[in-house]
Symmetry: C2
Subunit: 491 residues, 2 copies
């Protein structure tokens, strides 16, 4: 079973694909580019959702739900939004099927053509700001702090499970504010929520920054992002938060009367993370034996496997196992006791390794004699014997250790694979030979950014927040630069 997936060094890309399928996370569906999220994968996504949802509510947001379909004409209202977005998307043109008298089966009824085509939402700014026009009259209606959990569709030619799929699940926050400052603060606040979630739950160190104009969200004034490093050194954008200025307010005529009774356009933000985070979680931590899940997002945190030959042994082991199950659950730890007789312990060990269960307890007849259990941690694969009386406390501490260790490992890897380059030659060498994140000076122009991308496939992931102000010269053009930006090849 542990041999079922190729190693990372062999073929990182195949390793990822096979791991996603073999661990029961997701698979391709018969619909091109759409995935099926399988129960185990969905259980991880549910944990992400619950955690983020709580964080959104603690920062004052409420959930709502807006239509799946957006009238085609809405996309023309915000000029730069249509340029950046509305092209590759699913278009509904008809609303009825009928029996196909000639070929059998069903056919699209040509009489049921829509007057205006509907677009399956690729993102919901347009339809939401169209509602906000009716919801906002006065400063008393602001701020309006709304989030939506939804499916969205962006037609993609090359798809990969979780990382890039035609349909994906996400949340999209859409807020409206009375002042520019408040909207900017909201944008940064949500970026920080994402960073906190990535670091504390996904065990994923991230770099916060601002996108260049080229990479900015269509319709935004400024796009903030968090960038994470995968084990192959490539960057993965793990969340974006957009300051929309008054762009959508102007496009959809959303004004409010301020305290003085004067009409002003409102200020907006939007921010989102998607099932892409599943891809990041898998690629950042897992190894050649399978998934490595941080305990804070693991659907099963502890699995107990009995090792026995005779039924009487199983009975006695089960007594101990069920006692632990109960005690651990009382500590809010999710436990599975797997006493299926259809599979052998070795098979189970490999299976739970593949599935990334952080802690495995094995109990055999000898453990009963000695009053011990064998505890194995998934991240380091270390095993140790622990007295039964100390097991619960040991596991509480161990889960915490594992969470921290997975983060530390990722942080060390990121640090070791982050470089500076002071010339274009050096830059190209680092990108080609070492990979990872490269901090280098850039002249601030889209032309240079595109040339570098063409020649090296590395893109500017972000202009890091809180980076040192450091005067320098652009590695490509030699023109002056005010600080280094973050380059990397990216997913």
């Amino acid at each position: 079973m542990s041999k079922a997936i190729p190693s990372r060094s062999e073929d990182y890309s195949l390793w990822y694909n096979e791991l996603v399928k073999k661990a029961g996370l997701a698979e391709n569906s018969p619909v091109r580019g759409c995935m099926v999220i399988k129960p185990y994968g969905f259980a991880i996504w549910e944990k992400m959702q619950q955690t983020l949802d709580k964080m959104f509510k603690e920062t004052g947001h409420s959930n709502a739900y807006f239509p799946l379909f957006i009238p085609k004409s809405f996309f023309s209202k915000e000029a730069s939004h249509v340029e950046g977005f509305a092209k590759e998307c699913a278009v509904v043109t008809h609303y009825r099927l009928k029996n196909d008298e000639v070929n059998g089966g069903v056919m699209v009824d040509p009489d049921a053509k829509l007057e205006e085509e509907l677009i399956v939402r690729p993102t919901s700014e347009t339809v939401i700001w169209d509602s906000y026009k009716n919801w906002i009259q006065s400063y008393r209606d602001l701020p309006l702090l709304i989030n939506q959990w939804a499916n969205v569709v962006r037609w993609e030619m090359r798809t990969r499970l979780f990382l890039r799929t035609a349909e994906f699940l996400w949340q999209e926050g859409h807020t409206a504010h009375a002042t520019r400052q408040e909207a900017e603060e909201e944008t940064v606040q949500m970026l920080n929520v994402y960073a906190e979630f990535a670091e504390n739950f996904m065990a994923l160190p991230v770099t916060k920054g601002i996108k260049t104009e080229n990479e900015r969200f269509a319709g935004a004034v400024e796009t903030y992002c968090i960038e994470a490093m995968m084990q192959d050194g490539k960057a993965l954008q793990a969340g974006t938060s957009h300051f929309l200025g008054q762009n959508f307010a102007k496009a959809f005529d959303v004004k409010f009367a301020n305290k003085e009774g004067k009409e002003e356009y409102v200020w907006g933000t939007s921010w989102g993370v998607s099932t892409r985070l599943m891809g990041a979680l898998i690629m950042a931590h897992s190894d050649d034996e399978g998934l490595v899940l941080p305990p804070n997002l693991a659907p099963i945190q502890v699995v107990i496997v009995p090792i026995y030959r005779k039924d009487e042994e199983l009975e006695k082991i089960s007594e101990v196992a069920e006692k632990f199950t109960k005690e651990l659950r009382a500590r809010n730890i999710s436990v599975q006791y797997d006493k299926r007789d259809t599979h052998k312990p070795g098979w189970k060990f490999a299976e739970y390794e593949l599935k990334g269960v952080p802690v495995r307890i094995a109990i055999g007849p000898k453990d009963l004699e000695k009053g011990t259990v064998e505890i194995a941690r998934r991240d380091t694969k270390e095993k140790q014997f622990v007295a039964q009386g100390e097991t619960v406390e040991h596991i509480v501490t161990l889960l915490d250790d594992i969470q921290k260790n997975i983060y530390q490992k990722a942080a060390s890897f990121k640090e070791a694979n982050t470089h500076q380059a002071d010339s274009y030659e050096e830059f190209k060498e680092v990108i080609e030979k070492k990979g990872g994140f490269v901090y280098a000076h850039w002249d601030g122009t889209s032309e240079t950014e595109e040339k570098i991308k063409e020649e090296t496939k590395a893109t500017i992931r972000c202009i890091p927040l809180n980076s040192n102000q450091e005067e320098g010269t652009c590695i490509y053009s030699g023109k002056p630069s005010k600080g280094r930006v973050l380059f990397a090849k990216a997913y």
Copy 2:
């Protein structure tokens, strides 16, 4: 504010529509037939979701996610499924827009036509059973107990907020079993989960039964349902659970090797409830002042309103209010302390009445002197003064009382509006003059069922489970009948 909605006796239908909008539950969107679920409405739906999700998991089900789109050809695979379903639905024919050089804006790119049209799922049996074919090989893979929370689309000509919308939110359970008996038991188990949810959380008494062949789900062998009575005496189907037999297994060739190694088709069920439950909740309990929410589903269970003239008064009231807020929250009661100075207490009273908040606490300077608070319950509108020291305990009990009282009121109404009819004359008179549920004998034929529907607009809601075996003669045809069935006009 309380005058903002028409009374039920004036215009029940308008009362409902206005209530849904004025209470901030939902509104129509610019897309025909699609609704926007507003934050307060969505908060109620979230409580429903959380409760049901917990009940599904307790009965062994896991969540997963399947594609939004279904290839057109899939609908032809199960013959009766296509007859009943695949007609009124949204059809995706293209995957790209392009700039419209002539008229400006965007247009559908004629070069981006799909080879096979995709249907936006009206329900997911077909695409899910297509996956199950790969997931199920042996008896060890069974039972497969999966649920999906999703949006679905059924093109509807006449729509009403929550009750009938083109897009709606729902859950759909899809299970696969080794034996007919196990699948039948699952079907009944999930019907009972729905009935329990309706009665204990929605405070909605329901009648369980089996649908006639006419009303059966397309592709099912048997459809079980729960039927509730609204305040206008009409029935509303509040959940369905389908025993699918081997129909979808045969259509999608889903077989398993049994313990003897012999291949057999698996047995299936599917079951669902939708945002339609929101309509049922609203229509069953609310009154001319607004919503009446059972505490078990109220997003805000208790609101505290300060009554004051001077700032020093507010300060002292706030001390008491914040103490209650803290103590009530520690008891898992959701509390909102509304000390906004932008609205007067009278406005707030009407607002929270409209929104159906079960308990309102008002605290004024006199209460501070006397050590009391005024507690008003939404369901009966009774008010009473309670000593501050007893307030928390009082409210814990009161919320429980309100939940029970709302159920009892609905149950009494249902009983008072349930009748028997022994002749067609009597039947027509009851249906026309009294409305409500009518139990009558029926000969078991679709012809009779349709004639009665044509002539009276009443349909057979279900053949009730656990009804008395009672020989009789059909009210319409005079032919023999083995028991009464439930007739009503329905939503």
